[in-house]
């Protein structure tokens, strides 16, 4: 045991400091598909020094994962590495025979994947999966490996590791499984750990825990780290250096803080501008700076600069393909404009000034009026299947007594971690779900227990937009049919012609070409499909739109486009929004007021700016502090509050204040008396016995 301990914390000293553990040159990986050759990774060059942290960022399909898998030659047919060089500690990985390769994998180089839910074998105990990793490389005997597995799990922050090790994966949450994956990754003390989107599937507070852990492990074990992510904030958190990928190429490389502060490639520039930041003042207009369009079709990559079709700085020369050149020490970019010495405008300064500036009525002006939506004491319990025939009857308390007002013309954001009841709440409001108890008044009318006949006319006035634009559109209907169906169903038009005109109008309103009405959903990209869903929601000229994670499955640039669209539509049609998302920065950006959910209850409601500047509830403080900021300096200077543990189960929530099991200032009273949601400042409500004392 003592031996294992010392091994655990021993830092493997790099042979010669500063030399590269990994050297990748002109790597080319292609998929030989029936439709043609996809050049997924097309001449990628980079290197990682011993103990270094390198980030790879880029949007979906840019080739990040394929690059990572190519490094360990983990790709199957039809993918083939067709050229280039991968050297690990000087050895040529692409020339290794299967035995050498096997000896390298999991030993010198380890990998952690995106989805912890599917990365562990469901039918094998954790112990077995950890031990076999160590046994496979013959470093430890069975007993040593088991002892080491337990101490590694403990090191990764799993409580009672002796017990945990005998569990099966399904008994663990996503965050715990990712800890197990990290334990596995570090079990043979690799010189390099590749983590492909290790926190994308996790909640923001759990993400913060895992990222902190990765930073610590890099420091304690001395392993170099390649962190792949689509989120600049995550990279800024962990990595000293970053490379930016676009359409299979590296378009920029440099120290993270320099790249974020002063991007030298227009794509990086666009990425940085597209994400709202919680540490910036809200600009006068809420529109984000975006670039139009989507990444190129992998089968039809432009011959010149691959970013040219979307680039706002394009010049004539961009018809030729630029090379990745040094611009300054340690800084490279693949762009004709910046290579000629032209600077890009400073981030956030440029605003595409197309915003229509009709002032949205602010809540304070209309606060006297009856709110458009008034929810009181809303409860929803889902019965669980019994555990066998004789098991006790259990329910999931998905929503446990929610009070919320939405005033006409405003946007109320709802945030919270997965499972906190956000979506259930949305579905209750539109009466997709039947409430268990409570009252929902929409436009002055009680709808919590109203019959379908009463609700039907109201449905027209409130519409929902869902997260998954793929699942929510019928693949067998043309876009025209999808949009005209609700119009005809509610008899809003007199003639077929009028309907067609309305469909064209809708498509134009969401920024799509009206001629696209004859196409089917699969012919559109994710962002375009979400535009179609929004058009469908608008078809009945509603006043109130409930959007449940409408942008979560989209890339940041497309996210920004959709946010802008929602803002424009709100101004144009005087819409009221209930906007549900887990991304705090986005919610802050778009919302007038924000409600923070935890375990089916509202913890705090406040105007957006207020909530971020002066939150009163401890949970809100944690949540805000967990959001990664895409700015290396800001990340470093900011004190991070580590929220330990995971949300308790909604089947058996804690008594009193439901946050008390994770609250650092919990007192005995918190277990006994449920704190009411009380107005503590003007327009600022919180449910805590000791508000603002944390």
């Amino acid at each position: 045991m003592a031996d294992t301990r010392s091994r655990l914390s021993s830092v493997r000293t790099p042979a010669t400091t500063g030399t590269a553990v990994l050297d990748v040159r002109d790597l080319r990986t292609q998929f030989f598909t029936d439709a043609g050759i996809v050049r997924a990774v097309d001449g990628v060059t980079f290197s990682v020094a011993a103990g270094e942290t390198l980030g790879i960022v880029g949007e979906s399909g840019s080739g990040k994962s394929v690059t990572a898998l190519s490094l360990m030659r983990l790709l199957d047919e039809p993918a083939r590495i067709v050229g280039g060089e991968v050297r690990f500690q000087g050895r040529d990985v692409l020339a290794m025979n299967p035995d050498e390769l096997r000896a390298l994998r999991g030993d010198g180089v380890a990998m952690v994947f995106q989805d912890p839910m599917t990365s562990l074998n469901p039918v094998l105990r954790i112990a077995r999966q950890l031990v076999e990793t160590m046994r496979a490389h013959g470093r430890f005997s069975d007993e040593q490996a088991t002892a080491r597995a337990i101490s590694l799990l403990g090191r990764m922050g799993i409580t009672a590791p002796e017990r945990a090790i005998n569990s099966y994966p399904h008994q663990f949450s996503g965050g715990m499984r990712q800890r197990v994956m990290l334990a596995m990754g570090f079990s043979n003390e690799p010189a390099l750990l590749i983590a492909d989107e290790p926190t994308t599937a996790l909640d923001v507070t759990i993400q913060a825990q895992i990222l902190d852990l990765i930073v610590e492990l890099n420091r304690d074990f001395g392993a170099a780290i390649i962190l792949i992510s689509h989120a600049l904030g995550v990279i800024a958190n962990v990595c000293r250096r970053v490379i930016v990928m676009y359409a299979g190429e590296v378009v920029e490389e440099g120290p993270t803080e320099q790249v974020l502060a002063d991007p030298r490639h227009p794509y990086t520039w666009a990425l940085i501008n597209a994400v709202p930041r919680i540490d910036r003042h809200l600009p006068g207009t809420r529109r984000l700076t975006t670039i139009e369009g989507a990444p190129p079709d992998p089968l039809g990559i432009p011959s010149g600069c691959r970013f040219a079709p979307r680039c706002p700085f394009r010049i004539a020369k961009c018809d030729e393909h630029p090379a990745l050149l040094d611009l300054a020490p340690g800084r490279k970019a693949r762009c004709w404009v910046t290579q000629s010495g032209e600077p890009l405008p400073p981030p956030m300064a440029a605003q595409t000034a197309t915003a229509v500036s009709t002032a949205v009525p602010k809540p304070s002006e209309t606060a006297i009026a009856e709110p458009l939506l008034k929810v009181r004491g809303l409860v929803k319990h889902f019965p669980l299947p019994r555990d066998g025939l004789f098991g006790p009857k259990k329910v999931v308390r998905a929503v446990g007594g929610v009070d919320l007002d939405v005033i006409e013309g405003e946007t109320v954001g709802v945030v919270g971690e997965s499972g906190c009841g956000k979506s259930t709440f949305a579905r209750l409001v539109v009466r997709i779900h039947e409430p268990t108890a409570g009252s929902i008044r929409f436009a002055g009318q009680e709808i919590a227990d109203a019959s379908a006949a009463v609700i039907r006319p109201l449905r027209r006035r409130m519409q929902m937009v869902f997260q998954d634009p793929y699942a929510s559109l019928n693949p067998r209907m043309t876009v025209g049919d999808i949009l005209s169906e609700p119009i005809r169903f509610h008899g809003l038009t007199e003639s077929a012609r009028e309907t067609a005109e309305r469909v064209e109008e809708l498509l134009a309103a969401v920024g799509l070409n009206p001629k696209m009405a004859i196409r089917y959903p699969h012919e559109f990209s994710g962002g375009q499909r979400q535009r179609i869903s929004i058009a469908r929601a608008l078809a009945l000229k509603p006043e109130f739109i409930i959007a449940d994670e409408p942008i979560s499955s989209l890339d940041v640039n497309i996210q920004a486009q959709i946010i802008n669209l929602l803002i424009d539509l709100q101004e144009r049609f005087r819409l009221t929004y209930l906007f549900i998302a887990h991304d705090l920065a986005v919610v802050r950006h778009i919302s007038d007021r924000i409600a923070v959910f935890y375990l089916g209850k509202v913890m705090e409601i406040a105007p957006a700016e207020d909530l971020f500047k002066a939150s009163l509830h401890p949970y809100t403080r944690y949540l805000i502090s967990a959001v990664p900021i895409p700015d290396a300096d800001a990340e470093r200077s900011r004190a991070r509050l580590p929220l330990a543990g995971e949300p308790p189960s909604a089947i058996d929530p804690p008594s009193g204040c439901c946050f008390r099991t994770r609250c650092p200032i919990a007192k005995p009273i918190c277990a006994e008396v449920t704190p009411p949601l009380a107005m503590l400042r003007s327009d600022h409500l919180a449910a805590c016995h000791f508000p603002g004392q944390f």
């Binding site: 983990l74 994998r105 994947f113 469901p122 039918v123 990793t133 555990d387 066998g388 004789f390």
Partner: protein
């Protein structure tokens, strides 16, 4: 775990009770008058004789009374008297069951022993000769009609090459082994009578191949598909990234997941083999339940039909119970 098993057990008993009701109702509402079928034209034209016959077999009582009597008798292990053989149905079944059990079990083992490895190899060497062979075998197995397959086999190996014995469980002139279990292979082995053992084994070859064909095809196909699916899973890529040997990945990671659906299919297939060998048994003059069923059906021998159906239902329920239990053993996610 034990609670899970208990609840499955209770469920099985409830289902069995339901089955008795359904069976009883079905048997008693089927068109066709069993009396007329039993008596022949001459006796059936005699009204008095028919009434007497009805009273004797209780066919004149109201339906619910007949069900209560049926249940009471069941509890005493009494499945009634077969109308055509005039013997207790249970005894008939006891005589016919071993032949079927023996044939079905050999056929089942055959399809497992061949089908699972074949499916595994086909999946691992996709599009190689072995994959094509597996596909051919499962295609033939699943799609060729039993009587056709039996005819080809008999014509080829018995009639033509004369290397296989003809129909029946043993040679017509040989004596069956002393009955202990009724299974000839086991009985002859117990008595040390190896000549009879060989004879019985040889007689099993053709019918068990014919009976196994469809099951073998299904098992091969399912194993292959489920292997392919498991091989696609993330955890396999993770195992590879950990540097686990390819053989260990297949045995330790892919197989335990891939075999889960095969267990369900295998269990149901066995139940099918046990209860659905009518055609094979008829062609091979196999004195099993299938033939007994067939005979009872054409003579509308209601007590026998009810008895057999009940046995079939119990076999299905029992095997289902076994499937559920092995599921829980194989897949930790089943039991919380």
């Amino acid at each position: 775990m034990s609670r899970y098993i208990l609840s499955r057990l209770v469920l099985a008993v409830v289902m069995a009770l339901l089955a008795t009701l359904v069976i009883f109702l079905l048997a008693n509402t089927v068109p066709g008058d069993p009396v007329l079928a039993q008596l022949g034209d001459l006796a059936a034209s005699n009204k008095e004789f028919v009434a007497e016959w009805r009273a004797k077999w209780g066919l004149d009582l109201p339906l619910w009374q007949r069900y209560v009597i049926f249940l009471q008798q069941l509890l005493h292990g009494d499945l009634g008297i077969s109308i055509s053989s005039q013997r207790p149905v249970l005894q008939d079944i006891r005589d016919f069951a071993p032949a079927t059990l023996e044939l079905a079990s050999i056929a089942f083992l055959l399809s497992l022993v061949v089908g699972i490895p074949l499916g595994i190899m086909a999946a691992m060497r996709r599009d190689s000769w072995i994959d094509h062979l597996a596909r051919l075998i499962s295609l033939i197995g699943v799609s060729s009609p039993t009587f056709w397959l039996a005819f080809i086999m008999l014509a080829l190996f018995y009639g033509g090459l004369q290397i296989a014995p003809g129909p029946g469980r043993i040679d017509a002139i040989a004596l069956p082994p002393t009955s202990v279990t009724g299974l000839y292979l086991i009985d002859s082995a117990l008595g040390g009578d190896w000549d009879t053992f060989r004879d019985a084994a040889a007689h099993l070859v053709l019918p068990s191949i014919v009976l196994a064909a469809a099951t073998l095809g299904l098992i091969t196909r399912t194993t292959r598909a489920s292997m392919l699916e498991s091989m696609q899973q993330d955890y396999v890529r993770v195992a590879r990234a950990k540097g686990i040997r390819e053989r260990r990945i297949v045995i330790g990671h892919i197989l335990p997941n891939a075999l889960i659906p095969v267990v369900t299919l295998g269990g149901l297939a066995y139940a099918n083999l046990l209860t659905g060998a009518v055609l094979t048994e008829t062609i091979f003059s196999w004195p099993g339940l299938g033939r007994y069923t067939f005979r009872s059906a054409v003579t509308l021998d209601f007590p026998a039909i009810m008895g057999i159906t009940l046995i079939v239902a119990v076999v299905y329920l029992f095997i289902n119970l076994l499937i559920d239990i092995s599921y829980a053993l194989l897949d930790p996610r089943v039991v919380r």
